[in-house]
């Protein structure tokens, strides 16, 4: 656990999709799937990222979006960034034997380690992976090694044309899951949760909000009475049922509450 940012070197940079790269860092960290770190570019900003590799070296997988990620993308191997963490509550998969993972877009990143852990435990695992286009499909190969993979794209350029939740609905026709794990756009996750509720199935979602402290004191990342950084980022059905803001509202940097759509535009 690094309370303050620890500087480490970028050991390797791998391009995953048109807009996504993985940065392998020479930092040893004990963490569990679903937890996150704060990555610091000195003098610029600091942002939360899920871990896509843990142990002797860690990795973060990043989509190029705003000022921070553009600067990160401009860095070469050997450059230094700061890392604080790990933070947050991880996925709980202790008693899971039959599971489904639904990932959308860069939401494949927070569930990669989970999929690999479930595979190690010989869990019967179905994975639904959605992307806008085939060129943006993240971790297709790695996820296919962990479980039975179903790919969907918005434009039909890879896998089935359509939405991940349509595949999930179909899977529910013949499968029973102990738990459905999901990460992706919140609109997708709220639909995943709806489908799980309909089928009386436990659900764990990895949620996202703008964060500051990352250890539960400032309240910036609140969804109702829950702090995404400390009570989450992984939330269970019981908590999700209490979240009236989930799928509808989020807070800007000022803490002003806006529609999820306005929040998503600001995050671009």
């Amino acid at each position: 656990m690094n309370k303050l940012p620890k500087m480490c070197r970028i050991k390797e940079i791998a391009r995953e999709t048109l807009s996504i790269k993985t940065f392998v860092l020479d930092l040893e960290l004990n963490a569990t799937p679903g937890q996150f770190v704060m990555a610091w570019l000195p003098g610029t900003d600091e942002k939360p990222f899920t871990l896509t590799q843990i142990g002797k070296e860690i990795a973060i997988t990043v989509q190029e979006k705003g000022k921070f990620t553009k600067e990160l993308f401009s860095l070469k191997e050997g450059a230094q960034i700061g890392i604080r963490g790990p933070f947050g509550k991880a996925f709980d998969f202790e008693n899971v034997k039959n599971a489904c993972i639904v990932a959308g877009g860069c939401g494949a990143a927070p569930v990669l380690l989970l999929a690999q852990e479930l595979a190690k435990k010989n869990v019967n695992l179905k994975i639904v992976l959605g992307a806008r286009t085939g060129k943006e499909c993240l971790f297709q190969k790695k996820l296919s090694e962990a479980g039975e993979l179903f790919v969907t794209t918005d434009d039909g350029s890879l896998g089935e044309k359509g939405f991940t939740t349509q595949v999930l609905e179909k899977l529910f026709e013949k499968e029973k899951f102990d738990c459905v794990f999901s990460c992706g756009p919140e609109i997708m996750m709220s639909k995943v949760f709806e489908v799980c509720e309909k089928h009386n199935t436990e659900c764990q979602l990895n949620l996202e909000r703008f964060m500051r402290c990352s250890f539960g004191i400032c309240g910036q990342c609140a969804i109702n009475e829950f702090r995404v950084c400390k009570d989450g980022p992984v939330f269970f059905s019981e908590q999700l049922r209490k979240m009236t803001e989930f799928g509808k509202f989020a807070r800007l940097k000022s803490a002003k509450k806006v529609s999820l759509q306005e929040y998503a535009q600001w995050r671009q």
């Binding site: 940012p5 003098g43 250890f215 309240g219 109702n224 009475e225």
Partner: protein, 302 residues
Amino acid sequence: MSLKTDFAGIELRNPTVLASGILGTNAELLLRAAEAGAGAVTIKSIGPREREGHNNPTILEWEHGLLNAVGLSSSGYKEMEEEWSLLEKSPVPVIASIYGATAQEFKEVAEAVSEKKPAMIEVNISCPNSEKHGQVFGCNAESASEVIGSVKKVSNGIPLMAKLTPQAPNIGEIASACEKAGASAICAINTVQGMLINIEARKPILCFKKGGISGPAIKPIAVRCVWDIFEAVKIPILGLGGVSNARDAIELMQAGATAVGIGSGVHFEGIEVFQKVSQGMQQWMQENDFKSAKELVGIAHE
């Protein structure tokens, strides 16, 4: 034996108060602190208009406390209708903290906030994390008095509490000026200005570079400030700075605090800190023959 506390006319079930800027970005988290046992809760400082605050890192944990420079992020008082309506359900008094860049701005926010009838208005003249707001008013008796005086005119009888900075060379004098200008209570202390540098990056870690230190590191500063203020004014003091357990709370009360704020302690001990402090105080008071929390106030001065 009772922990019930009269704080400037406000009845508290126990003397612990959630400090401003901690969890207080939305009503539900404030209510969660209330359910966890806080005697009162404080809404994060409200400004005249929407303000983003600084880029990250804005809040850090280090070996003896926290360091923050959030930079007074606020949705602005006009965007808080929903929070106010949810806070009507609060089982404990709600304190509204306010800030501005001029006495006029403080007045504008106070006027709007007064209409919502909070139990008390905390006037934040002590935030170290903005050039134009906060601390700049709290280091000078004349400007502190001007702000409190202007807010007093529009606060509609709601008690005012001046939140002071330990950066002031004579905090007792500032407190006294606030009392004369119409404050009903003093809150001390805000964070102490500091900085941390990452030596590998060769850069200050906070994006704003400087920030405010809180937590165990500043407790002796808080105790000294509360002591000085107690000697200078008659109005009650909300003491805060480095309170994580009952002994810290009792220490501040013996220095002169009537109630005790908890901020960083929420991180070190969890949201349960309010209940833990209350229970610990009760036990200590029993063991040491105190019948009410009031008897502790300022006892170290006798």
